[in-house]
């Protein structure tokens, strides 16, 4: 019986020690991609012209600290991928890609920022296929929470 009491004691101790462990607040919030600002570009259904350079603009916020972001432009000629947005845009008919534009780049955000005005210059080559494209923004915070935004855009 003594053995049992001992074991019970060990368990109780383990429980108590674990419960009293440091209860530092952990971050459980996703970062936010805000494209509602007047300068934000592109937004859902934006159009961009070939052979021109445009400036990506969005506001990123997080409750603790932002991490990094990446941008991705790929064709949506087959209508397979869908944007994460509520509003849908007018889409051209399904077509076969010949020389679709593909753009992938990642960007750093200075350490420790809670809010960041992201800007990036992107050049659309003059010889790519025009049509429906997908503009993806992937934003992380320092803890690794990631927010995705998929926008439907058109390259003219």
């Amino acid at each position: 019986m003594k053995k049992i009491q001992f074991l019970l004691g060990v368990l109780a101790l383990a429980f108590i020690s674990s419960c009293s462990s440091d209860t530092a607040e952990i971050d459980t919030e996703y970062p936010v991609i805000d494209i509602t600002g007047a300068n934000a570009f592109p937004i859902q259904c934006s159009t961009i012209e070939r052979g021109q350079t445009f400036t990506f603009k969005a506001t990123f916020t997080d409750n603790v600290a932002l991490g990094s972001y990446s941008l991705d432009i790929h064709h949506n000629f087959d209508h397979h991928t869908h944007s994460t947005e509520v509003a849908s845009c007018y889409m051209e008919a399904v077509k076969k890609p010949v020389k679709p534009m593909l753009f992938i780049n990642n960007y750093t955000i200075p350490d420790g920022l809670k809010s960041y005005e992201a800007t990036a210059q992107i050049t659309i080559p003059a010889d790519v296929d025009p049509g429906d494209y997908h503009f993806m923004i992937r934003l992380t915070d320092k803890e690794g929470w990631q927010t995705l935004k998929g926008l439907s855009i058109k390259i003219l």
């Binding site: 368990l11 952990i26 209508h79 397979h80 991928t81 890609p97 593909l102 990642n106 690794g144």
Partner: protein, 735 residues
């Protein structure tokens, strides 16, 4: 059209069940009164051995038999076992799930069938367990580290599906199982035939299952902010089918027994069409909503074949057992080709893989084990060894894990000492060796690589030729004390798990999650130390069981989401890196039952689990797929009704608390209240009893999310109201 189909299935089911049952009646009537052949023996044996095992085994063991599974029948084996506290699932639609024991799953929980360790593709959250639940007679669930019995991987626990009991001598019979489910218009049937003369026997089974898209109590789900309209509450393309064969045959004599097992489990099931993992997908609504029974893209097709022989013989006071086995797991995942990252816009015509084949995994496993069990005075000693070799090939246009071969060997000894009638001691030691050899892999497409401001195209190397070896020594000690109505147990043990190919060498983008998963070749074998306690009280009208545990991992292998994005290998996706961190976990399960009357009882089953990462970059966070606390309240009424045998009515209420303890990329899950109703009985028909079980799961069609579902991240609710009718009709042809 849909309504017509479901009505058609309902009537088909009813008609068929009537036909089969009437046939059985006619078969049974002329035969004389004879003792029941297979069923009764099983129940008697089960009841005693399970209780005995519980009293002598210092780990926490729960045993359930096929009548438990029948009464709680879910879409797959693990879903049927979920009523047990501490046992949960990671489920994938209505027909697939994987075990989650005290919050651990994947390669940390092993499944053993007929003594053979089941080897599928356990590492994937959307990979269900390839087991036919109709072929399961008795399952033992070990909630705790059992590496000393099973070797690597049994860190979190084990699901041990016991071999079928042998048919009695000079019998020939069988049974028909029929199941119908309203929610996904499922029809399942399983036909069993067995026979034995004096020493030779066979036991065979064919199971078929066919189900449509399952229904949820909502007509719109939000994949991110994008609203997906559901047609008549059906989760588009979640239909599936299954076809399984089993045969065991052999010889059983007084001192010698040899059994061959053969089984083949084949499933084909669709993934929710509006999402590919986390990516919202546009679908052809007309095509998809034409039928709720067709399986379109994306879908998975899995075949699992097992062949094994178990031979046991007695020599003096030694019981020897050898087992030799082969299994093949062949998994294919089909999806429309979408050029993610730097993949070419148009799929090349001369590719090695078909255009729709996203992933393919082909695993062969050969295994051998031998053990000797003998008694020296009050010591019952078992010594043994296992060897296993596996070969893994990959295919498809998407790369996640490399091809690899693996060799494992283990030696163990354990001793059960019966001090007296009340005290038992258990001790075990085990040594394991493992070697994993991964093959190099290059992308089939080129990616731009920048060096010194120069950009050139390159076929990226995703994995290198890499060989790793691991060895480990594990141990376990425990005691049982059974003074009458009370039983107490305690066990302290260590266990280990060898890192898997995915953890060591993955280096690709998982487009189901938009993440770049990066393996770590420097990982050590994962270790775990656990203290398990058990307290049980059993008296006539009251029983109580409490099973607390404390667990510590000095180096838990964890896929850590970082804040970085990778442009080259990750095609712009978030980097997830395998790391090792200290983990502290504790929890408990409680089960109690009180009988107000002989026929009326109330039961409570509750579970609690806490996990915390004590080091590493996610210090303070929990582990992924942590089940929230839950309580099951059940009311059971088992009246005496003259023409029925063991009738029962039960009403369950499950309260699942909210889960706010999360880790990226999880989401907080709200609490849920779900009610289930079940009733059934055996009907006396001559010498065989037909059993009928009816369940109404999610009685009030409640909309809720399950924190540990594969579909949780895209907010897919759990299945709505589901009426399940199942029937087991045994028959005997001759004796």
């Amino acid at each position: 059209m849909k309504n017509a189909l479901s009505i058609y299935w309902k009537y088909y089911f009813l008609l068929l069940s009537l036909l089969v049952s009437s046939e059985v009646f006619t078969q049974n009537q002329p035969s004389e009164k004879k003792p029941e052949i297979k069923e009764l023996d099983e129940v008697l044996v089960n009841g005693n051995s399970a209780e005995k095992r519980k009293k002598e085994e210092s780990l926490n063991v729960e045993t359930v038999n096929n009548s438990f599974i029948q009464r709680n029948l879910g879409g797959s084996l693990m879903q049927s076992l979920q009523k047990l506290p501490g046992v949960k699932t990671i489920s994938i639609g209505s027909g697939g799930s994987k075990p989650l024991i005290r919050g651990l799953s994947f390669n940390q929980v092993i499944v053993v069938e007929n003594g053979l360790k089941h080897e599928g593709q356990q590492w994937g959250a959307d990979h269900g367990l390839e087991i036919d639940q109709y072929a399961v007679n008795r399952v033992e669930i070990i909630k705790g580290p059992s590496s000393f019995i099973y070797g690597s991987d049994a860190v979190g626990g084990a699901i041990n599906i016991k071999p079928l009991p042998l048919p009695s001598q000079n019998t020939f019979g069988g049974s028909v199982d029929l199941t119908g489910k309203s929610n996904n218009a499922q029809f399942g049937s399983s036909i069993n035939l067995f026979g034995r003369n004096e020493n030779w026997f066979f036991d065979s089974r064919v199971t078929t299952m066919d189900y449509g898209d399952y229904r949820v109590p909502t007509d719109v789900v939000h994949v991110y902010s994008y609203a997906v309209q559901l047609y008549k509450n059906h989760l588009r393309n979640t239909a599936g089918k299954e076809l399984d064969f089993h045969l065991s045959t052999g010889y059983s004599g007084e001192h010698f027994k040899s059994v061959f097992y053969f089984s083949n489990v084949h499933t084909k099931s669709g993934f929710f069409a509006n999402a590919h993992g986390l990516e919202p997908r546009n679908v052809d609504l007309e095509l998809h909503d034409k039928s709720n029974r067709d399986i379109l893209m994306p879908y998975q097709q899995v075949n699992h074949l097992k062949v094994s022989n178990t031979t046991s013989f007695q020599f003096r006071n030694h019981a020897f057992e050898t087992q030799i086995g082969f299994q093949n797991n062949f998994r294919r995942e089909y999806s429309h080709y979408v050029n993610h990252g730097y993949m070419p816009a148009i799929y090349p015509e001369d590719m090695y893989a078909p255009q729709d084949l996203e992933r393919q995994y082909d695993k062969d496993v050969w295994s051998f084990s031998a053990k000797d069990e003998f008694r020296i005075q009050n010591h019952q000693i078992t010594v043994g060894s296992n060897l296993a070799f596996q070969q893994n090939e990959i295919g498809g246009w998407s790369f996640l894990i490399p091809a690899f071969t693996q060799f494992n060997a283990g030696l163990f000894a354990y001793d059960k000492i019966e001090l007296n009638e009340k005290w038992f001691l258990n001790g075990a030691v085990r040594y394991d060796y493992g070697k994993i050899k991964m093959k190099s892999h290059y992308d089939w497409f080129q990616s731009p690589v920048s060096e010194n401001n120069q950009t050139h195209l390159e076929y990226l190397q995703r994995s290198e030729d890499l060989t790793k070896t691991f060895d480990s020594f594990t141990w376990s000690i425990g005691a049982n004390y059974n003074p009458g109505k009370l039983s107490l147990k305690a066990n302290l043990g260590s266990s280990f798990r060898m890192p898997i190919a995915k953890e060591l060498a993955s280096n690709g983008v998982n487009y189901h999650y938009f993440r770049f998963e990066k393996g770590n070749p420097n990982l050590n074998a994962e270790r775990s130390y656990q203290l398990d306690l058990g307290m049980e009280w059993n008296q006539q009208n009251w029983s109580f069981q409490l099973t607390p545990f404390v667990n510590y991992f000095p180096n838990f292998i964890y896929l850590n989401p970082t804040s970085a994005h990778d442009i080259y290998y990750g095609a712009g996706n978030q980097v997830f890196e395998y790391e090792q961190s200290k983990i502290f976990r504790y929890g408990a399960e409680l089960q109690t039952r009180y009988y107000f009357l002989n026929s009326l009882s109330v039961e409570i089953g509750a579970e609690y689990l806490y996990s915390e990462q004590k080091s590493g970059s996610k210090k303070g966070y929990t582990l992924p797929f942590s089940p929230p606390p839950s309580v099951l309240l059940g009311l059971n009424y088992e009246p005496q009704i003259s023409f029925l045998k063991e009738p029962y009515f039960s009403f369950d209420y499950r309260f699942t608390a909210q889960q706010n303890n999360i880790v990226p990329p999880e989401k907080k899950t709200a609490e849920s209240h779900v009610f289930n109703l079940a009733f059934g009985s055996k009907v006396k028909t001559g010498k065989q009893d037909i059993s009928i079980n009816i369940q109404i799961q999610n009685l009030f069609n409640t909309r809720y999310l399950n924190h540990t579902s594969f579909y949780r991240l895209i907010e897919l609710p759990e299945a709505g109201r589901n009426i399940i009718v199942s029937m087991k009709i045994p028959f005997s042809v001759s004796r």
